[in-house]
């Protein structure tokens, strides 16, 4: 594939030597580990560029997409849970339960396709591919376009970015939003039966105040742990969603790397994902200790 058809035995040996495939597997592994310790992840076979810079160049796109999806999931899920608690035992709650059930049983991949049909084709309000319109010249120094466009007050670019990100982020957010809504509503319901909530009610506070100020702070903890765990799965989901929306992030690159069998690049991406997951898990544990006073003096 990488040599012309007439290549002789010698050429093949030379090419193997170039990529180090003439050495044994443990030797290759050692060379690779030594490279990482020296701060390099090797060179991508297809693009012949250093893996580290390729991977770090794509990372901001994926991070921005994941964080936006997370924010949307928390907003949607939280609203559903609060509305459901406010209208306990009424039709609104039943409706929310049904919506949750369907949202949970359909994966993000299918939501993404559905949105492409609805908002990309039937009623084209959002962009269905890419990260930003190529017509806009990007005067940015970092790859955190969404963040940097805000800092530089370029709202035209910001809006363009958001209209590209909206559908992939929503597709990623919906299953998580359903999980949040379900669990938060459950724990809110349990909290609403506790004595101190009844006390707040007898004091004459309105139902909204009781739910938001009294019940919510205590009910939110289990949901928070779950969101942390689920966030790593959401980041994993970006791989396929990025592909679906031709979004230029890590996941899209990962799939190309697998199709091209670009092993150094695959290794680099997997390690980066592993680092992200570990960091997220660590952050969740730290936040949990911060919010739950009982864990602080353990």
């Amino acid at each position: 594939m990488m040599l012309p058809p007439g290549a002789g035995e010698e050429d093949i040996i030379r090419l193997k030597a170039l990529y180090g495939y003439d050495k044994s597997i443990p030797e290759q592994f050692l060379i690779w580990v030594r490279g990482i310790l020296a701060g390099g992840f090797g060179t991508s076979i297809t693009t012949r560029q250093p893996v580290l810079s390729l991977v770090l160049g794509r990372l901001p796109a994926t991070l921005e997409l994941s964080v936006m999806a997370l924010v949307m999931a928390i907003a949607i899920g939280g609203m559903l849970a609060l509305t459901g608690t406010r209208h306990r035992g009424q039709k609104a709650e039943a409706l929310i339960d049904v919506t949750n059930g369907v949202s949970l049983s359909v994966p993000d991949f299918l939501w993404g396709l559905l949105f492409i049909l609805l908002f990309g084709v039937l009623w084209p309000v959002f962009h269905i591919s890419g990260r930003v319109s190529p017509a806009l010249g990007l005067p940015f120094v970092t790859n955190f376009y969404l963040f940097e466009s805000l800092v530089r007050l370029r709202f035209d670019i910001w809006l363009d970015l958001v209209s590209h990100m909206f559908m992939p982020a929503l597709a990623l957010a919906i299953p998580l939003a359903a999980i949040i809504a379900q669990l938060l509503k459950q724990s809110l319901k349990e909290t609403m039966h506790l004595d101190y909530v009844t006390l707040a009610r007898t004091k004459g506070y309105s139902e909204n105040y009781v739910i938001l100020r009294e019940a919510l702070p205590n009910a939110v903890l289990p949901t928070l742990t779950l969101v942390g765990v689920q966030f790593t799965f959401l980041i994993g989901g970006t791989i396929i969603i990025e592909r679906l929306f031709s979004y230029e992030g890590l996941g899209n690159m990962a799939i190309d790397a697998v199709i091209n069998r670009d092993l150094p690049l695959i290794q680099g991406i997997v390690i980066l994902f592993a680092v992200i997951f570990t960091t997220v898990n660590l952050l969740v544990d730290l936040t949990y200790a911060l919010l739950n006073p009982r864990l602080r003096h353990g």
Partner: protein, 283 residues
């Protein structure tokens, strides 16, 4: 006992009927695909490319749901695609179930070091997001139907193991297990003859859900071109093609998408319905 069972025999949930009905229809359609399909799913006919579905202007009688950019019949490809989807669901689902439920039973009933080892593996497995794991495995094993099935089994056995382990633990603490032990039955026999029948409803529910997951995983992998060859009719590859030409011919995307959507929804609703059906507390 018989009276209690008669009392429990109540109206079966409509969602069980609907989802079960769709899946049955799909199985029959997949089995009878050679009889039902109006065209050869692989036959290309560039004179009949991008034909719209039957009820639109310019449709051809042989292509009820239209044709794609290479002139292949959409309906025939959906029917043959159902064969691949259901095959993966059945084989991958069953293998995952046997591996996961087996390990879960052993861990939950024997406790001690088998439990330690298996639980540790479950923890490590669960820390890694499934999509990345799948793509990594495919990268190592190469593309193909077998790789997909192996990837699903290797990734998803923890779903079964985790739940069945907990169930087996709570069953193992019950009196009937103690009396079986007193009666002199061997531990392995108790596990298979006493514990297994009692966790079987849970296994059936998980198996149904797993089949839905297998269908979607196969669709995703064939969507990104990491499944079997692109010519073969899979729902995922049809969706990929439809996605690329969505502005010219929406039907190439819409019909496989609806089929996949209904199938995945049916598996999960069937699983949820069965769970309610088996759950004695809800009766």
């Amino acid at each position: 006992m018989a009276d209690g069972r008669a009392a429990a025999k109540r109206r079966i949930n409509p969602r069980l009927w609907l989802s079960g009905g769709w899946l049955l229809l799909l199985v029959l359609a997949a089995l009878a695909a050679p009889l039902l399909a109006p065209q050869d799913p692989l036959a290309q006919d560039l004179f009949a490319s991008r034909l719209p579905p039957l009820w639109q202007m310019g449709a051809e009688p042989g292509y009820p749901l239209g044709s794609d950019s290479l002139g292949r019949d959409v309906l025939s490809r959906i029917l043959y695609g159902a064969r691949i989807a259901l095959l993966v669901a059945l084989i991958a689902g069953t293998c995952t179930c046997i591996l996961g439920a087996g390990l879960g039973l052993v861990a939950g009933y024997y406790r001690g070091w088998p439990d330690m080892v298996i639980s540790r593996f479950i923890d490590i497995w669960m820390a890694f997001p499934p999509v990345l794991f799948a793509i990594l495995l495919i990268a190592v094993m190469g593309t193909g139907l077998v790789s997909i099935i192996v990837a699903i089994v290797v990734i998803d056995w923890t779903r079964f193991a985790r739940v069945i382990r907990a169930e087996a633990m709570s069953q193992g603490a019950m009196d009937y297990v103690a009396s079986a032990k007193v009666a002199g039955r061997a531990r392995f026999g108790i596990m298979l003859r006493e514990i297994l029948p009692n966790v079987l409803p849970t296994i059936v529910v998980l198996l149904t859900l797993e089949m839905g997951i297998a269908v979607i995983v196969e669709a995703i992998l064939s969507f990104v071109n990491l499944s079997i060859s692109t010519d073969d009719p899979t729902w995922g590859s049809m969706i990929a093609e439809g996605r690329a030409s969505v502005h010219q011919s929406w039907w190439v995307l819409v019909f496989p998408l609806i089929t996949l959507f209904l199938t995945v929804l049916s598996f999960s609703q069937l699983g949820g319905g069965l769970k309610d059906h088996f759950d004695p507390v809800l009766r």
